[in-house]
């Protein structure tokens, strides 16, 4: 049973909510209450746009428990428009082959499927290729 933990992290996971430093305006994700740039308190919440570009990526075939049923899947570091890098899966790739620099946007998907007694499903952010206007 890990329900409290995931409840605690819901805001970040659903909305990509981090912080902005009131002292130096650095955008922070994940939230950590201390600005990594200037070392001062930074507790002002900040909602990221969810737009960014692939900084690096790879595909996982040998997955950990809770992810083995969905392997293979592609993970990436995504450079957000506002500055920070975020670790997440790429999704909805279809025929697209991921590339460094590919524009992506945030969507909410199921993160892992705990098939054991924990039972719980966890949802959170993934990134998909930016859809071209029709």
């Amino acid at each position: 049973m890990e329900i409290p933990r995931h409840w605690r992290l819901n805001q970040q996971r659903y909305g990509l909510v981090g912080e902005v430093c009131p002292h130096c305006d650095t955008k922070i994700f994940p939230p950590r209450d201390i600005c990594p740039a200037c070392g001062q308190d930074a507790k002002t919440t900040f909602a990221f746009s969810g737009r960014g570009a692939v900084f690096s990526f790879t595909t996982i075939y040998e997955a950990p428990t809770g992810f083995d049923e969905t392997a293979p899947y592609t993970v990436a570091l995504v450079k957000l428009e506002e500055g920070p890098l975020v670790t997440a899966q790429l999704t909805d790739l279809g025929e697209a082959h991921p590339e460094i620099g590919m524009p992506v946007e945030m969507v909410t998907r199921r993160l892992r499927s705990d098939g054991d007694e924990r039972g719980m499903l966890i949802y959170g952010y993934k990134f998909r290729p930016v859809l071209k206007p029709a």
Partner: protein, 388 residues
């Protein structure tokens, strides 16, 4: 404040491999008995255990008391030190502090990992506990895929040719042939590397060190406490440092730079009063080929983005300018998890004593060893020196 030299008085190790028939405690006991005997029978007052995964893989925590008891040392001080893949190096650091402080005369450091009690997804999950559970492993990220992310970006930014990292595993496997404790003792050719299927693109199976069981042990003491007639050339720990970097890979300001690896080496060289060009061999942490390349850069042996050239040009071979992974490294000796840093110290001591057999680096006097936890979120560096 250190008034004396800290000596590696005893070394011991088991073969690295799939020890289906041996438990964690049995492996540790073998290494401890070997190291104690090698030291001329010094009696430790404190035991530091370097271990990464036993509480996950073997449902066994509290290894300090367990191994003290099983080694016939019931009563002595004991605890476990964990710093991910750098656990063995961090345990060695504690042994160094205990003996340096004068609060212990003889310290026993044992690194042990028992991987093969668990296989498959559960092992991957345990390994992923070295990454950030709230922001990395919850997305299915693993340490191997972090290395792949680094390699992909490294190749992209530095325009590395295909197979540019091949000589890291090829050198390691060539060196494994002469190490009777190594997991793999067969050299491989470039064709084998080139034909291998990608495991986690751009890494193939030869870019990833194999997880395996093993235990290694060290007996440390101060020089004046060495037994009469100590039979080996005397090797001292000239420096011991640990530095950290951001925990999550995504939070690095400069993704392609191992800042902790750099800092711990700079500090170690400064404390011991050496320069890089005095280093006779470097046991880097080649858990992945990309880690080896970036470690060479962080140490200052190569410019940024140029670490792979030292492999390409043969500089890291036994006969090269800077022999690395001299007894096979993690790739061929095997990756015994939290025991790795202790294996590195055992191997460096063997080199500095002139006991490395066909892999002996002629006239080696100064060895640099480094192990990493997570994607170099922690780096532990030691310098070992033959005393004249």
């Amino acid at each position: 404040m250190i008034m004396t030299d800290i000596i590696v008085a005893g070394i011991g190790q088991t073969v690295v491999g799939e020890h289906w028939d041996a438990s964690l405690r049995t492996l540790a006991l073998q290494a401890i008995q070997a190291a104690t005997q090698d030291s001329g029978g010094l009696k430790p007052q404190v035991l530091y255990v370097g271990n990464m995964l036993a509480s996950s893989l073997s449902r066994q925590a509290h290894l300090g008391a367990l191994l003290a008891d099983y080694a016939g040392l019931t009563g002595i001080e004991a605890s476990t030190v964990e710093a991910g893949g750098a656990s063995g190096g961090a345990a060695l650091r504690q042994g160094y502090l205990a003996v340096s402080s004068g609060l212990a005369d003889v310290a026993l450091v044992v690194g042990v990992e028992k991987f093969t009690d668990v296989i498959g997804p559960d092992l991957e999950a345990a390994l992923a506990s070295q990454t950030d559970s709230d922001y990395e492993s919850v997305h299915g990220m693993t340490l191997t895929s972090q290395a792949a992310l680094l390699a992909n970006r490294y190749i992209y930014e530095n325009q590395i040719p295909a197979g540019g990292l091949a000589n890291f595993p090829l050198t390691a496997h060539a060196n494994g042939v002469g190490n009777k404790f190594a997991m793999y003792r067969r050299a491989i050719g470039l064709d084998v590397y080139t034909k291998a299927e990608p495991v986690c693109e751009p890494l193939n199976i030869y870019d990833i060190a194999p997880n395996a069981d093993g235990a290694a042990a060290l007996v440390l003491t101060r020089r004046e406490l060495l037994p009469n007639g100590f039979p080996h050339p005397v090797v001292r720990l000239a420096a011991s440092t640990i530095a950290s970097d951001t925990f999550a890979l995504a939070e690095r300001g400069d993704m392609l730079w191992f800042g902790a690896a750099q800092a711990s080496i700079l500090q170690a060289l400064q404390k011991a009063g050496f320069t890089l060009d005095q280093v006779d061999l470097f046991e880097y942490y080649d858990l992945f080929s990309i880690f080896a390349a970036m470690s060479l850069e962080a140490a200052g042996f190569a410019g940024r983005g140029k670490g792979w050239e030292l492999a390409r040009d043969g500089a890291i071979a036994l006969t090269g300018q800077l022999p690395c992974a001299t007894l096979g490294g993690l790739k061929a000796r095997g990756n015994p998890g939290g025991a790795t840093g202790v294996y590195q110290a055992v191997e460096a001591t063997a080199q500095l004593r002139g006991q490395a057999g066909q892999n002996q680096i002629e006239g080696a006097r100064l060895a640099l060893i480094q192990c990493l936890g997570g994607p170099a979120s922690i780096a532990v560096t030691h310098i070992l020196e033959t005393m004249l």
